[in-house]
């Protein structure tokens, strides 16, 4: 008998939180927080879009105040990157690594601490911006974050403590992942650390290719780690370095703010702004060019193999490409400093242009390998998993070349800091490329994490897909065009200077927001309000693995 609406809303379709293991509950808690932050992110984005579109702006006048506007702009990426994306990616990987290595997660308790710290940290950073209007933007260009003439010291301290909590949570995730990968239990009982390291860095793939070229037998017929685990391993190296850099920058800002609070007036110019900018971008760029691209490539490979049930095409090349990306991602940060004239020309040329161009190669390879793996398994049924994966490929297919175009000394002169880079590149990369890949992963993992819970509505799933895809691409395209017309990304426009583009972008942004609401509604109807609350209750089953018997 079919359930009524209220019954389904309360009890879900066939979800039973009491049957969930500790690992499944930990993952679902992080996923819930991630999508709540995504909603906040989308609302913030819409507020900013409406403020610069005065002809259709229904918001109260307070949103037009520069302090308010730039506070939102400061926390928008913190909520998006850390509160939402990090949580979702970390949750997925803390489930996938035990699943793929057939070993238990090192510590579910640590996994819970990770999502709690990231949630608290994001909330603190948001509060700092909302209450004290601390607004140095995520770039934290020195000495702006320590400028106590423009910002209240307390706001800065709360913000930095929030970011520090996020980074400590990130370090917890990294420890959990590596401790799981290097645990010599189960299938890895007889593996050495050296073997696991060689596999983790993709060196075995490179050696296999070399042996093939020189006519020798393969270096390793059965690599110690599955390819998606290699991608997680590699991406996590960049996540670690990025966390150290952001923590380092945070400590610097905090020291100056605490000195100010203590009545001391330290010379902010004792720290060189250009050196700081290089240090900061080196670390921050590891999120974009290391972490995202590597994690995403690994996710594509995993999704393609799960969806098709076949081996990955050119697996050794894929492993070797992940090794190449290691070198590339550490050497590309100068593309953020092409408009900085004191930056040495050689660094602009080598790091900013030439090495950056290799990202076209590494990402192009990942796209090619994924497409061919799918193609070889034809005919396939168009499931949400497959559709979202293809949407993710479209996102990066659009966003990566947009970045390569801008990472050029000629183009950068007219595109730097415009909405082109903000929307045509990283909003499309994140909203369409990354999130559609994550939605694909979510639909693939959903049966495993929820014990085969039926999604309430397929129609809503597909409505979400189309609204999200068209809205995400459309918003990126229209706001990106405004950038080509000269619209700056970190500027307040209150006279409707780019009204037409902004109206079109706002319409598409609304589609993304509505898509999120529909998705959330579908999930709530599937697990029910009781189930949603139950996710946060202690698990009866304490197991930290999925699909294997723990001894």
């Amino acid at each position: 008998m079919q359930k009524g609406f209220i019954d389904t809303l309360i009890n879900g379709t066939n979800f039973d939180h009491r049957e969930l293991s500790a690992l499944q509950k930990m993952v679902l808690r992080a996923v819930v927080m991630s999508f709540l932050f995504f909603g906040l992110l989308a609302i913030e984005g819409m507020i900013m879009r409406l403020v610069v579109t005065p002809s259709i702006n229904p918001l109260p006048e307070m949103f037009n105040h520069p302090e308010h506007y730039f506070s939102i702009m400061t926390v928008h990426p913190i909520v998006g990157i850390f509160g939402s994306t990090y949580q979702l990616v970390f949750a997925a990987f803390m489930f996938l690594v035990p699943y793929l290595t057939k070993k238990p997660l090192y510590s579910v308790k640590l996994g819970n601490i990770v999502w709690i710290l990231i949630t608290l940290g994001t909330a603190l950073a948001w509060i700092a911006a909302f209450v004290w209007q601390y607004a140095p933007l995520y770039t934290l260009y020195w000495p702006l974050p320590a400028d106590t003439k423009q910002f209240q010291t307390i706001g800065g301290i709360v913000f930095i403590v929030g970011v520090a909590l996020i980074m400590i949570g990130t370090l917890g995730f990294i420890y959990n992942i590596y401790a799981t990968i290097f645990a010599r239990v189960g299938v890895h009982k007889n593996k050495t650390t050296k073997e696991l390291l060689i596999s983790g860095f993709g060196i075995d793939g490179m050696l296999n290719l070399w042996h093939k070229l020189t006519g020798k037998p393969p270096y390793s017929k059965e690599p110690a780690l599955a390819l998606p685990v290699v991608a997680i391993f590699r991406g996590t190296v960049d996540t670690f370095l990025d966390a150290i850099v952001i923590l380092g920058a945070g400590i610097l800002v905090l020291v100056y703010l605490l000195a100010d609070a203590g009545g001391l007036s330290w010379n902010v110019h004792a720290v060189d702004s250009l050196l700081y900018k290089n240090f900061f971008w080196w670390g921050l760029d590891l999120v974009a060019d290391g972490l995202v691209l590597i994690y995403v490539a690994g996710s594509w490979y995993l999704l393609a193999t799960i969806i098709t049930g076949q081996k990955l095409f050119m697996e050794n090349v894929a492993r070797a490409a992940l090794m190449l990306e290691l070198v590339v991602s550490w050497m590309v940060w100068s593309h953020h400093l092409l408009a900085d004239q004191p930056q040495p020309e050689m660094m602009k040329l080598v790091s900013g242009e030439m090495v950056t161009a290799f990202e076209l190669l590494t990402q192009g390879l990942a796209l090619f390998i994924t497409l061919v793996t799918l193609w070889k398994a034809r005919p396939l049924k168009m499931t949400p998993q497959l559709a979202y994966l293809l949407g993710g490929l479209v996102g990066f297919g659009l966003a990566v070349p947009a970045a390569i175009i801008q990472a050029d000394m000629g183009m950068n002169r007219v595109l730097h800091n415009t909405q082109w880079i903000s929307f045509a590149h990283f909003h499309i990369a994140l909203i369409v490329g990354l999130y559609m890949t994550l939605y694909s992963a979510l639909y693939v993992l959903w049966p495993m994490v929820t014990n085969n819970t039926t999604m309430w509505s397929k129609k809503l799933t597909w409505t979400h897909f189309w609204l999200y895809l068209v809205g995400g691409v459309g918003m990126g395209a229209f706001a990106g065009m405004a950038g080509l017309d000269g619209m700056l990304r970190r500027h307040l426009y209150l006279d409707g200077e780019f009204n037409t583009w902004m109206i079109l972008a706002a319409i598409c942004g609304t589609m993304v927001l509505v898509a999120w609401a529909l998705f959330l509604f579908n999930v709530v109807m599937s697990v029910g309000v009781k189930g949603l609350v139950g996710i946060f209750l202690p698990a009866q089953d304490k197991s930290a693995s999925y699909g294997i018997e723990e001894n």
Binding site: Y141, W142, D147, P342, P379, G410, A424, L484
Partner: protein, 211 residues
Amino acid sequence: MMCEYTSISKGGVMTFATSVELLKFHTVAYTIYALLIISVIAWFAYNLTRKEKAKSAVRIPFYGYIAFLVAGGVGHHIFTYNAIPWVSEDIMRHEIKPDYVFDIQIHDHKWKFPQLPMKVEAGKKVLFNVSTDDLTYGFGLFRQDGTLVTQMQVVPHHKNDLLWTFNECGKFDVYPTEYSGPAEYDENGKDLMFVKDAFEVTGCDEKSAKR
């Protein structure tokens, strides 16, 4: 508004005299690319689900694809180096003698210009030296229609020099292209660092006539 700007044609094939020409080309080229990649993935998605074997219009060998990516990544820079005049000028700016030099200072969100408007002749090389002793700012020149002519970051206690040859005439506004805190604006959101008609270029008609 665009008709106010007269540009000096360089007369070369695929050489962009001004950023407007470059951005127009870029808009068309990227739009074509975007439609192409969306169409390819859509075609791919459609054929993934079909039982009949799809007929490929072209067969792309793996190494051909890799060569295409490398050529695209590297060739893009070679193309812009040859087609965009300000790239080589920028790299060699320390060895080029400018026709005009403007020393501009920024302090506490306020500009200090040597003169207003700063007037130059079209086709001459202009060096902007912008310095600051407090925050990181940006220096950008914009046309009256809001499109960007050129820009650079202004890093405190560093030499920030931008060499530019104006191949277009008209009046240009100055905006800071980098955020330096909310003090850049008044409480109503008016940008206090926006300077209308800060720069003027004349003489395009004479230059064009000589050509």
